[in-house]
């Protein structure tokens, strides 16, 4: 298992170092345009938040996996975990929000000791779409997690899970040895309680991130290939596949630099820039809350320590109206959201 950047004491564990890299070099000498200038070409700068639709809560950076591309720099060593007090504050927001989607993420959210309590309480708010991002292997990691499929079902949680490929080789390379077999087993268990079955209301979607320095292919055709392979080889069903572009931050940035792919990757992102994707980037309808209750435009900005540009900075002073219309904090990592068909936590945006 690789180690988190934090554990390695890597300079990239510091967000300001990442932001420096993203603003210097090819973006400083004019080889490539800054994101701000690029979106200004079509009159889309400054980028503004619209009405809130998705509330994404990161309940902690601890994870049983240490994936090579992880933008959270998550791992077993990360101790940033949301407390029950902060969860209580989140519940207040959840009860009163106009958002139609609640999205719990991490790390592995299930590793937060108050995860089940939080899900039970949050489910009572009756939000239309209640998502938990589960990495699958957690379901097989330890006996105490074996009943997660039933627990998710009980609370009608929408499960979204990562799967970089339908073959073992590509999956394990990105996510660690043994991950593929465990993920397959977990998917079969989710299917067994009804998740992902063709006519089932128990939603099971998969997320695909490329396992290397290249962009994701067309979402619809990848979904077709994934469905066929998983059904033929493992008798697994799921609903939708979301293709997500890897953003050049945290461990993926580290990988890009170490493999000498950084510049080519940034060129590829800029070349694939699609002005039509800008108006739908997820920060325009999403708010991200960190384990310690601070507010960000998206989970990526959370990892880069770019807080919302608003008077309201923390969940304790939450005010949805004041947050609407705020100017989004951007940097060159944002090119990852506007390449090709665009990319968000819900897949393509065009």
């Amino acid at each position: 298992m690789i180690k988190s950047l934090h554990q390695r004491n890597s300079e990239l564990a510091k967000s300001n170092r990442q932001l420096e890299i993203l603003s210097n070099g090819i973006f400083q000498n004019g080889d490539l345009p800054k994101f701000k200038d690029k979106i200004a070409e079509t009159g889309q700068f400054p980028l503004k938040a619209k009405k809130l639709e998705i509330l994404q809560i990161n309940v902690g950076y601890m994870c049983n996996q240490v994936c090579e591309h992880c933008h959270v720099d998550a791992g077993p060593d990360r101790k940033e975990i949301m407390t029950r007090d902060t969860m209580r504050q989140c519940l207040e927001v959840i009860k009163n929000t106009g958002a139609h989607t609640l999205d719990l993420t991490g790390g592995a959210p299930e590793m937060n000791p108050d995860f089940r309590w939080f899900v039970e309480e949050a489910a009572k708010a009756g939000i239309k779409d209640f998502i938990v991002r589960s990495n699958l292997t957690i379901i097989r990691a330890n006996k105490k997690y074996y009943d997660l499929p039933d627990f998710f079902k009980k609370h009608n949680v929408h499960v979204i899970s990562s799967m970089p490929h339908w073959t073992k080789g590509k999956t394990d390379k990105q996510r660690g040895n043994g991950v593929f077999d465990k993920s397959i087993k977990a998917l079969q268990e989710l299917n067994a309680v009804g998740y992902g079955m063709p006519d089932s209301d128990l939603r099971l979607d998969l997320v695909y991130n490329p396992s290397g320095a290249f962009l994701p292919g067309n979402q619809a055709s990848m979904e077709k290939d994934f469905k066929k392979a998983l059904l033929d080889d493992f008798d697994i069903n799921f609903h939708n596949l979301f293709t997500i572009t890897n953003l050049p931050i945290a461990r993926f940035l580290d990988y890009l630099i170490a493999s000498e792919n950084y510049e080519d990757y940034m060129y590829a992102l800029v070349e694939a820039y699609n002005p039509a994707a800008v108006k739908n980037v997820m920060c325009t309808n999403t708010l991200s809350i960190s384990w310690d209750g601070f507010l960000y435009d998206c989970d990526f900005n959370q990892m880069l320590d770019l807080p919302v540009n608003s008077k309201v900075k923390h969940i304790s002073e939450y005010n949805e109206e004041l947050l609407e219309g705020r100017t989004i904090m951007i940097s060159q990592h944002c090119y990852g959201c506007t390449a090709g068909a665009g990319s968000s936590c819900q897949g393509s945006v065009t």
Partner: protein, 111 residues
């Protein structure tokens, strides 16, 4: 002076060929885009054919482009290599099948 005949950066300039003949250049790119659309063959199958032909043509630009394209489509390296062997087999076969012509000629000329 340019030190090599091939420069990876030239691939990005491919579109510029329209500058010196817009009509034919555009017709070519329209045709090219149409060819690679989903049809009776999937776009994925076409990508693998393109990769194999890129190798038989030994075009470094196309090899670069269709290796990337394959990865983006989730094509595995094993599938890519299998496609290459199809190209290599045809290329080898095409060389050897001309051996019949050689044999015919020898048989005709030799006593």
């Amino acid at each position: 002076m340019q030190k090599t005949y091939y420069d990876p950066a030239d691939l990005k300039k491919f579109g510029k060929i329209t500058e010196w003949n817009e009509e034919l250049g555009n017709k070519f790119f329209d045709y090219y885009a149409k060819v690679f659309e989903e049809g009776k063959l999937t776009a994925r199958e076409k990508s693998l054919i393109a990769l194999a032909v890129a190798h038989t043509e030994q075009c470094p630009y196309c090899i670069d482009a269709y290796t990337q394209d394959g990865l983006q489509r989730g094509i595995t390296k094993e599938e890519m290599m299998e496609a290459l062997h199809v190209g290599a087999a045809i290329k080898g076969g095409a060389t050897l099948v001309h051996g019949v012509q050689m044999m015919n000629k020898v048989n005709k000329l030799e006593m």
